[in-house]
């Protein structure tokens, strides 16, 4: 049977630009590259992986996040059709579908990608070794001024923090920079400059993900005042076996025995301007409660909630399991968290019992919501993409979440709206399908018979 005639479109550059290397950008890149099209994946950070790399276990099946993510990262890094640009940002986009002209700023890494072996000797030698709060560990762990964000980073190359390194901030570091001396391959180059390159792409997939709600905006929860009030993502690092505490849940060296989780911090909350639901916090809280129960079986765990939104596949079942682990679900978020001596007091109104409560806690975890990246406006302007009322990128129509109002530009993952990993991955494959419909126009295949 003959196929519909496929005409060659001269104006389709058979290259996809993917912005953001979280799980969404990675999945979209792999789906496009596996079909034989070239992908340029631009990631701002020194490594791909995004937020998923920071998670401990993932709900509801509790597989270890980095165990399932690392093979994917390796695959992206090694794919012959994917050109990975880390420490890079898209600064300008001109043109239209088929022929976008893209400018990319490559920020200096100060480490030669070709020479670095990832051996860690530089970080060991750094005079600021274990002094600088690690972004990856949400400040709970420390790193050097030359560092690798986490051991499984892709590419497995070190990077110098230009805001901390003495050579870059003060022009000198002792007699000579120890990292440079320690490096066996002469990979460190303090003279690297940022450079801007331009390239052409036929289609663009935007996968810039989300930020965490700043719990400091709810001062009544004492997030900024008390060190034992943590955000959801901080708890992930605290709990992670590969995290700064190797997974022991301790505050000031003491194992916690009473933990209170607070849902909807920065979500479903008009007082902070976020009416929307963040879609994952109920589940990640239930997961975190379970992880504590597993590690500290006699811990008293309470989850304060408004509605428990366990809607995905296997989620309700997981919720049920955790309820049976004697985790107390208390309906009604606290109005206030304060300290009495060493103990946190969580005060609120239990709407089921119709009475007020005061819970004592050694640790409070705030289920901070997912918010748009702070540069969404800027990126949107560059790409000509509008955003919806809550600030995430706007999809073409409410139900067509992959396409945008601009032909040839597609959305994947949490940059469109909060969602969990399965939904992110499905959407990212969807973005790849839409992108490849365009890219296919650049090819002819001799399969007709």
């Amino acid at each position: 049977m003959a196929l519909a005639a496929r005409k060659i479109e001269p104006h389709m550059v058979p290259v996809a630009l993917v912005i953001g290397g979280g799980i969404a950008g990675m999945q979209a890149s792999l789906d496009i590259a596996d079909k034989g099209f070239k992908v340029v994946l631009v990631e701002r950070e020194p490594t791909i992986g995004g937020h998923m790399a920071q998670l401990d276990k993932t709900f509801p099946t509790l597989d270890c996040s980095s165990c399932i993510l690392t093979p994917k990262m390796v695959e992206v890094g090694a794919h012959p059709k994917i050109e990975l640009m880390t420490c890079s940002e898209v600064t300008d986009v001109q043109g239209e579908v088929g022929d976008f002209r893209v400018s990319i700023r490559k920020n200096p890494r100060y480490v030669d990608l070709n020479k670095c072996t990832g051996c860690n000797l530089c970080a060991e030698a750094c005079v600021q070794r274990n002094r600088i709060p690690s972004e990856f560990d949400m400040g709970i762990g420390k790193r050097s001024a030359i560092y690798i964000p986490f051991p499984q980073a892709v590419p497995q190359k070190y990077v110098i923090d230009p805001n901390c390194c003495f050579m870059l901030t003060k022009g000198k570091c002792g007699k000579e920079p120890k990292c440079q001396k320690a490096c066996g391959t002469n990979a460190i180059d303090f003279k690297q400059k940022e450079e801007t390159i331009t390239l052409q792409a036929g289609v663009i997939v935007v996968a810039t993900g989300y930020d965490h709600f700043d719990a400091g905006l709810k001062p009544e929860y004492g997030y900024e005042r008390y060190e034992n009030v943590l955000s959801g993502i901080e708890f992930e690092r605290l709990c992670s076996a590969s995290g700064p505490t190797k997974g022991t849940i301790e505050i000031n060296g003491k194992e916690v025995k009473r933990v209170v989780f607070v849902q909807c911090v920065g979500s479903r909350d008009k007082t902070v301007g976020n009416e929307y639901c963040s879609r994952v916090c109920c589940m990640y809280t239930i997961k975190q409660a379970h992880l504590i129960h597993e590690k500290i079986p006699d811990a008293k765990i309470t989850i304060c909630y408004m509605d428990v939104r366990a809607f995905g596949k296997g989620y309700e079942e997981f919720y049920d399991r955790v309820q049976r682990e004697k985790v107390v679900f208390r309906r009604g978020n606290p109005s206030e968290i304060y300290k009495q001596g060493e103990t946190l007091m969580v005060r609120g109104e239990d709407t089921l019992l119709g009475e007020s409560y005061e819970e004592e806690a050694d640790l409070v975890v705030l289920a901070t919501g997912l918010v748009p990246r702070d540069d969404t406006q800027q990126v949107g302007k560059m790409l000509g993409l509008p955003h919806s009322s809550e600030g995430f990128f706007k999809e073409f129509e409410t139900k067509e979440t992959v396409a945008t109002s601009r032909e040839g530009i597609f959305l994947a993952g949490c940059c469109q709206s909060p969602k969990d990993i399965p939904d992110t991955v499905a959407q990212a494959s969807g973005a790849a399908a839409m992108a490849c419909i365009h890219l296919a126009k650049a090819r002819t295949r001799g399969t007709e018979s």
């Binding site: 519909a4 079909k35 993932t58 479903r268 929307y276 809607f311 596949k313 309700e316 089921l352 019992l353």
Partner: protein, 650 residues
């Protein structure tokens, strides 16, 4: 033979619990080990280069990597061997992370175990044989099963990518459940506006072949080369000849409840399968038509002025070839009669949410007027979680859409019947999607009352149906009468999916929906290569998520089509035909239908494209006629001997 052994620290993942230096030194002591090294990250570029350099300079011919699970990096290291000109299957991995450092606390003993695993790997490495993966051509076509919004969208994407698609739908019309909805959340657009243009696009697309009234009867083959037998039910009314006059419908003596309107309206046995002018050609419901019971009636055939009706037509079977398959068979609606206490089959004033959609839809039986028993209801109750989150009916899962569609229906009611009183009874309100919380807010603002606590019972008192339950917020029981109660019935696995599941040999999740192969990172793939999932057949979801998944499934399904070929893993079973007596025991244990009896030679044969190398057949074979490449008996026994020797050493 020269073996190289590479022991990975995996940062501290392995090194913390295993003395990697000791393991490396131990490996060096093996007679045929030419070189043994340890390194922080063997999988890193420098780690890989280390191995490549040694292969070149030391002329190694077998490699053992002691690191993480082969599922992580076996492919990485096989590539290293290929790049160095070695056969990629000359690699053996000793998993000293998941099987050692991660599970043992005692460093001394963990190190001993790591040594044992390394010796076993060395022992097997001696016996490794070169294997080559084969490539096979593919059919650049997809088969999409199910013509709801999921199947339609997947077909459109595949067609637009330039591949041929067969879209098989068992009903006479496309559109699935969506075509029966009134308006859709969160912005209350007409469902028809969403689905109709897509149906038209699919019908007119040159690459897409739509087969309605069709079902898959049999499937054979494997990724790249499936063959499906499609049973095409006869269309007794010829679409080209019929002019839609409707006389046949008038003369038909049979009346029956219609499925399209969820039992709200009676239809004839010959009927229009979709209202609203979507189609003017009637179809015949064979289950109720008298002709197909006892041939006692042929009035429609006689009356047709165009002679467009042919009751003698027979179903046909068509064979189609396809490289990939997408399953998009959707869901069914929970049968509310199973909750007898809610009185659905007793009271007309208790209806289901899908019925509510039909009653409020302009194309519905009441032309969009919500009328119950001749009256416009003044007080309306919506009840959440009917058949969901309910272990008593075996459905523990949440149906994901009912909270939001109820908010939509409640809002519709408060808008269209402004004098009515609307109350929603809920457990939790799960309005999680983009714009959904806002919809819930709007409903509340419009005066919809949300009451926490679903009724345990519905009964009749006078003109009203009375809901009895416990208000969880007030901590008090309630008894409240309404003119209408709408049950938010959940989404359940579709009945048609059951037979399909057996045909395709796909596993189901505990909730009865099709199971994806990995819940996080491969939500659209199934355990069978080349078969993918889209939409509610995988689990309940709304239209936005269904569409995202449908696009995604199209991507997954076109990957091999774009590639134009599939690689066949050589690690599969093979049969020694001199020993095989064709007893067929292996066929019974094979999950993938990869084994068949060759009737002429009376020996079993293996479909190399289907075999996954799971090892079930070779362990079941009573004669030892089957072995698995790369895991042959001598290779495994060598490992076992090495492990036993290790025990002796301690």
């Amino acid at each position: 033979m020269k073996i190289g052994v590479y022991v990975c620290h995996c940062g501290i993942n392995i090194a913390e619990h295993v003395d990697v230096k000791a393991v490396t030194d131990f490996a060096k002591g093996h007679p045929q080990v030419a070189i043994a090294r340890d390194y922080t990250y063997m999988c890193s570029d420098p780690g890989q280069e280390l191995i490549m350099r040694d292969i070149e300079t030391e002329h190694l011919d077998r490699i053992v990597v002691a690191a993480c699970s082969p599922t992580m990096h076996e492919r990485t290291f096989r590539n290293v061997l290929s790049k160095s000109g070695l056969n990629p299957y000359f690699l053996e991995i000793a998993n000293i992370r998941e099987q050692c450092s991660w599970v043992h606390g005692d460093r001394g003993k963990a190190t001993e175990k790591a040594k044992d695993l390394v010796s076993a790997a060395i022992a097997k490495a001696h016996l490794l044989e070169p294997l080559r993966s084969q490539e096979k051509g593919i059919i650049p076509t997809s088969l999409v099963i199910g013509g709801g919004i999921a199947g339609i969208q997947a077909a459109l994407d595949i067609g637009a990518s330039g591949f041929e698609v067969y879209l098989v739908e068992k009903n006479p019309v496309l559109g699935g459940h969506l075509i029966r909805l009134n308006r859709t959340f969160p912005h209350l657009e007409e469902a028809a506006q969403l689905i109709r243009p897509k149906i038209e696009a699919v019908l007119s697309h040159p690459n897409i072949h739509v087969m309605t009234l069709s079902e898959v009867k049999a499937i054979e083959g494997a990724i790249g080369n499936f063959t499906a037998e499609i049973r095409r039910m006869a269309r007794y009314v010829d679409e080209d000849e019929c002019d839609g006059c409707g006389e046949c419908i008038e003369v038909c003596p049979v009346e029956r409840m219609d499925n399209f309107d969820y039992g709200l309206k009676k239809h004839k046995a010959i009927y229009l399968p979709a209202p609203g002018g979507d189609t003017t050609t009637p179809v015949i419901d064979c289950a109720s038509c008298l002709h197909f019971q006892d041939k006692s009636c042929d009035r429609c055939e006689k009356v047709c002025p165009k002679s467009a009706i042919h009751l003698a037509r027979k179903e046909e079977v068509e064979k189609i070839d396809a490289g990939t398959i997408i399953v998009a068979t959707g869901h069914d609606i929970f049968d509310a009669t199973k909750k007898t206490e809610l009185g659905y089959d007793q009271y007309d004033a208790v209806i289901t949410a899908p019925q509510f959609e039909r009653l409020t839809s302009p194309s519905g039986p009441t032309e969009g007027n919500l009328v119950i028993g001749g009256m416009v209801p003044k007080s309306i109750a919506f009840i959440h979680c009917v058949g969901s989150r309910d272990k008593s009916v075996g459905n523990e899962y949440c149906s994901r859409v009912c909270c939001t569609y109820t908010a939509k229906q409640a809002l519709w009611t408060s808008k269209h019947l402004p004098d009515s009183e609307v109350t929603v009874f809920y457990i939790d309100v799960r309005t999680f999607g983009k714009g959904y919380e806002e919809l819930y807010e709007e409903a509340q603002k419009r005066g919809v009352i949300y009451r926490k606590g679903v009724p345990s019972e519905i009964f009749r008192r006078g003109e009203k149906v009375v809901l009895r339950g416990e208000d969880a917020l007030l901590g008090q029981p309630y008894e409240q009468g309404f003119d209408l109660a709408v049950l938010a019935t959940g989404l359940v696995p579709s009945e048609g999916a059951q037979s399909l599941r057996a045909l395709l040999k796909l596993p189901l999740s505990p909730d009865g929906f099709f199971m994806e192969v990995h819940p996080k990172l491969r939500p659209l793939d199934t355990a069978a290569d080349g078969i993918f999932l889209a939409g509610t057949c995988q689990g309940p979801k709304d239209i936005a998520d269904t569409l995202a998944q449908a696009h995604g499934a199209a991507s997954r399904a076109t990957t091999v089509l774009f590639q134009g070929k599939v690689a066949i893993d050589p690690v599969i079973a093979f049969i020694d035909e001199d020993i095989c007596s064709g007893c067929g025991i292996c066929e019974q244990v094979c999950e993938y239908a990869a084994l068949n009896l060759d009737p002429y030679r009376r020996v079993m044969t293996i479909n190399t494209a289907l075999c996954k190398g799971c090892g079930a057949c070779n362990s079941a074979c009573p004669a030892g006629a089957i072995s698995l490449r790369h895991f042959k008996p001598d290779q495994i026994m060598a490992q076992v001997h090495a492990l036993c020797l290790g025990r002796g050493r301690q």
